[in-house]
């Protein structure tokens, strides 16, 4: 009997599996934001002067910017002075073998194949814990192929020319409020450089983890794919369960030169807050890819199940002729979660193509908005876009919203947008139930079918994880 009871309890407590805290000695900068703090942060990271200046410039600009309010989100005011902008595990590892076992254990719990497991999985991993990167695997193998995959801090030291050439060219310092903040205080992130003609021999992956209390995470990722290269990059994120909101403001920049392809997949599972909307991560992210070269391709795939608030629009600037942008998204909001997410496809080059598949699922009191822009500039002869946005409603109190913007300035462009909203039909449910499926299983199966178009774009391991995440996140949504 006792075992049974535990089983049930375990099942009930399954909600947010990544919600543990790792007790690790951490070094902080005092909370608050000022030029001084930024200089300290930059000094701690031993950064060259140009980097410090860049940060200060961003900070000064940020001070002049108003907090944006256009998204359909209810956000309690953020006190930027109460956040600590730097938190790092004290024991600095020299190599993966020296990494604090507790840390490795954390990633183990999260299922991140950081160490030997990585060898089996064949994925190179960079793990970012609070503010700093704690270890990157498979360096040697990647170096042989000529691929640079390291933390942003290392890149600033070891490849300053590359970083200076590309950093901030896709998302400029003054792009938006949270991007400017990120420029000022970003602590780490991943840097990927795929040289000309190289097909990256394995999938690259980064795991982000916010662990310390009262900290924000501001990572910055830069991926550059030179002519004819290919890379698939995966990103996952988790955080412990806490009662207060924590801020995550990341910037991701992708640059694809002629014939290059970048595939960027995200499974976002930051702590979503509890049933009553207490706690959870504020996830304000700027992601943008620049298809600079002809025939280049950037593909974003995201599964957004976590965060109290998600505010994120992975975009493609289709500058090169015949370049392609893709966006596949599943966003789920349950309980009091809010998401305002979508994409921007800016067609500048000739014969550029873009495709948007966005699936929103709202349950509980969740509010889910798709916001997208498809813009065809005067130069974009033969541009083509197809957009499909579907929303699924589970429950009476949730909301699903669609805000597409379509701006076309070239007469040869073909732009199509379709959106539908409905709930899971009683017929579908009844059919599944009559075949002996429980209600939750039935819902989960229908939701899985609803998301299939997006899941099939994910690398296999991620697809499995994403499916599981959806199931867990939807628990208790029906009935």
């Amino acid at each position: 009997m006792a075992t049974e009871r535990t089983d049930i309890d375990n099942a009930l407590n399954r909600r947010y599996e990544a919600g543990f805290v790792t007790d690790i000695e951490t070094e902080y900068l005092p909370p608050g934001l000022s030029e001084d703090i930024i200089r300290q942060l930059s000094a701690k990271k031993n950064e060259p002067e140009w980097m410090t200046d860049w940060r200060l410039k961003a900070y000064r600009h940020w001070l002049t910017m108003p907090v944006p309010h256009w998204a359909k989100l209810k956000i309690s005011p953020i006190d930027f002075q109460s956040v600590s902008y730097y938190a790092a595990p004290k024991a600095r590892p020299k190599s993966l073998d020296e990494v604090d076992p507790k840390l490795l254990e954390t990633y183990e719990k999260l299922g991140v194949p950081l160490h030997e497991r990585a060898k089996l999985a064949g994925i190179a991993v960079d793990a970012v814990f609070d503010s700093v990167s704690v270890g990157t695997t498979f360096r040697k193998e990647l170096a042989e192929a000529g691929v640079i995959f390291c933390s942003m801090s290392e890149a600033i030291h070891n490849h300053p020319d590359l970083v200076r050439q590309y950093l901030g060219t896709v998302v400029p310092v003054a792009d938006n409020y949270f991007a400017a903040l990120n420029c000022a205080v970003f602590s780490d992130g991943s840097f990927v450089f795929i040289p000309k003609g190289v097909r990256c021999p394995m999938e690259l992956s980064t795991y982000f983890r916010i662990n310390a209390m009262n900290t924000g995470q501001f990572e910055r990722t830069l991926i550059v794919a030179e002519e004819g290269s290919y890379v698939s990059y995966l990103e996952g994120c988790t955080a412990p369960q806490r009662d207060e909101n924590q801020l995550h403001a990341a910037v991701v920049e992708l640059v694809a030169l002629d014939d290059a392809q970048i595939k960027y997949s995200t499974v976002q599972n930051w702590y979503p807050g509890d049933e009553n909307g207490v706690g959870g991560i504020y996830n304000f992210v700027t992601k943008r890819g620049d298809c600079r070269g002809a025939r280049s391709k950037i593909s974003w795939t995201q599964v957004e199940t976590g965060s109290a608030i998600t505010w994120k629009y992975p975009s493609c600037v289709l500058r090169g002729d015949d370049s392609t942008g893709e966006f596949y998204s599943v966003a789920l909001t349950h309980h009091a979660q809010q998401a305002d997410t979508g994409t921007k496809m800016i067609h500048i080059g000739k014969n550029t193509k873009s495709k948007i598949i966005a699936k929103g699922i709202s349950a509980g009191r969740g509010q889910n908005s798709y916001r997208g822009l498809v813009k065809v500039e005067k130069s974009a002869e033969g541009a083509r876009n197809y957009t499909q946005c579907d929303s699924l409603l589970i429950g009476k109190k949730c909301g699903a919203h669609t805000f597409p913007y379509i701006e076309v300035k070239h007469p040869s462009a073909i732009v199509e947008h379709e959106a539908t909203t409905s709930k899971i039909s009683d017929d579908q449910l009844f059919y599944c139930r009559s075949r002996g499926l429980g209600e939750e299983d039935a819902v989960s199966m229908i939701v899985d079918g609803f998301c299939k178009q997006v899941f099939k774009e994910l690398p296999m391991e991620f697809a499995v994880e994403a499916k599981k995440l959806l199931e867990v996140s939807l628990e208790g949504a029906v009935g």
Binding site: W70, K72, V376, K378, S391, L393, I394, G395, K396, K397, C398, G399, A400, H401, T402, F403, P404, Y405, I406, E407, V408, K409, H410, P411, S412, A413, I414, V415, E416, H417, E418, A419, T420, T421, S422, K423
Partner: protein, 432 residues
């Protein structure tokens, strides 16, 4: 920094006849609205609702108000029988209007008269309607509008003859600003057809700011056609605020064919269970025309329906802007909402901006929208050419078919012919 447009209006307000302003004791409310409008100023492109329609050029132009009734050639007025109300430069033109022999149960008169002879009930009724104002143009309208259409249909009245209202812009030496306020009230179970013409009797660059209130009582039915053929230099701000009670049915078609700048906001609240709205329209943005239509459909009650079919054409240096907002509130279960906005972009200098928006807070709903921007179907063109139809004619035919989808609901043959003629006259040039 003073804005010439607003400064000129402030001056014009001071010159309006005191008696007319004070009618129905609205003087105080008018002054309050004017002060608020002047304080707010015109919306800038930073305002989300105006992001595609800049008003910078308009802001710099001064306008006066029309002093006396201008003469027009009656030939510009649309043909047709039945009750008719004509306004020339915003002033009621009795000579061109037909108000005798109104069917029983139909009350039709200019607002200027209604305001003077108002009894207590009407007074409250009208004052309430002068209250709604959440943007500068609505406020200006509340301050200035001295005339317009008052149309009331008693419960159970089925009026066979269409009621026509014509707003004519006549040339003057100085550009004028016209403010009109219309009130349409259809009683329980009553039905009526209303045809609204906005046209021009010669070259002019007036500013017309009109606001129309439509109230449909339970089971009422209104078919409303609006044809906008203003002068190529005119500027229009039109706003319709509709409220539909239970099982009421509002069928509407809007043709935006003229003006330099025409902004139309159609806000409909489906307040009663089972209320239905069909709104179709065509935006023909050729020349340097800027047409901006903004729908705000608010589903409040259960089992409400809306079907919105809009077509846009962008030719020459024209710009067609469309916003189709559908809000389904919590509790509006059983709602069905459908929006289709298709656009043809026919020139490298034209632009189409479309934004179909769904906001849904209820789960027992079916909502969908589709928006496209493209060209004429090459296969259809080829087919017509293979049947011996010349290129130009084939393009015109296909463009006409594209636009006519939005007019399918029109059940008046005579009107349909009129509109077909209007389109047929314009399309060959547009499609070429």
């Amino acid at each position: 920094m003073s804005v010439p447009l607003l400064a000129s209006l402030e001056q014009a307000f001071a010159q309006l006849p005191a008696a007319a302003l004070q009618a129905a004791q609205l003087g105080e409310s008018r002054r309050t609205h004017l002060a608020a409008a002047l304080a707010d100023g015109l919306p800038t492109a930073r305002a989300e609702r105006w992001r595609y329609t800049p008003l910078r050029a308009l802001e710099r132009r001064p306008f006066v108000t029309a002093a006396a009734l201008a003469e027009i050639d009656p030939a510009v007025l649309p043909a047709g029988e039945g009750p008719r109300l004509v306004f020339v430069n915003g002033v009621f033109a009795a000579a061109h209007s037909r108000l005798d022999g109104l069917p029983a149960g139909v009350e039709l008169l200019p607002l200027s008269q209604a305001l003077l002879g108002a009894d207590a009930r009407d007074l409250a009724h009208l004052a309430r309607r002068f209250d709604a104002s959440d943007d500068t143009f609505a406020r200006l309208n509340a301050a200035f509008a001295l005339d317009g259409l008052v149309l009331r249909v008693a419960a159970g009245t089925r009026c066979e003859q269409p009621v026509t209202v014509v707003m004519v812009g006549a040339p003057t030496t100085t550009d004028i600003a016209v403010h009109l306020r219309h009130l349409v009230d259809i009683g329980e179970g009553a039905s009526l057809r209303l045809v609204e013409h906005q046209l021009s009797a010669g070259a002019q660059a007036h500013l017309v700011n009109s606001l129309c209130h439509v109230h449909l009582k339970p089971g009422a039915r209104l078919s409303h056609l609006r044809v906008q053929c203003e002068d190529v230099a005119a500027t229009l701000f039109t706003r319709t605020e509709g409220v539909l009670a239970g099982a009421a049915e509002y069928q509407r078609a809007d043709l935006e064919l003229g003006a330099a700048l025409s902004r139309h906001e159609l806000n409909i609240a489906l307040q009663g269970n089972g209320a239905r709205l069909r709104s179709n329209g065509v935006l023909l943005a050729d020349g340097r025309r800027h047409l901006d239509t903004r729908l705000g459909i608010d589903h409040i009650a259960r089992d409400t329906r809306c079907e919105l079919t809009w077509r846009g054409l962008g030719a020459d240096r024209g710009r067609a802007v469309f916003h189709g907002g559908i809000l389904i509130r919590a509790g509006a279960d059983g709602t069905s909402a459908q929006l289709s906005n298709k656009n043809l972009l026919l020139s490298p200098h034209a632009e189409i901006d479309t934004q179909p928006v769904l906001e849904i807070h209820a789960d027992e709903v079916q909502a969908s929208h589709g928006a496209t921007v493209g060209q004429l179907d090459a296969n259809a063109l080829f087919y017509l050419r293979s049947r011996g139809v010349g290129e130009a004619q084939a393009r015109t035919l296909l463009t006409l078919a594209f636009c006519r989808v939005a007019l399918d609901d029109l059940d008046d043959d005579a009107l349909r012919e009129q509109i077909d003629a209007l389109l047929a006259a314009r399309l060959p040039e547009v499609a070429a």
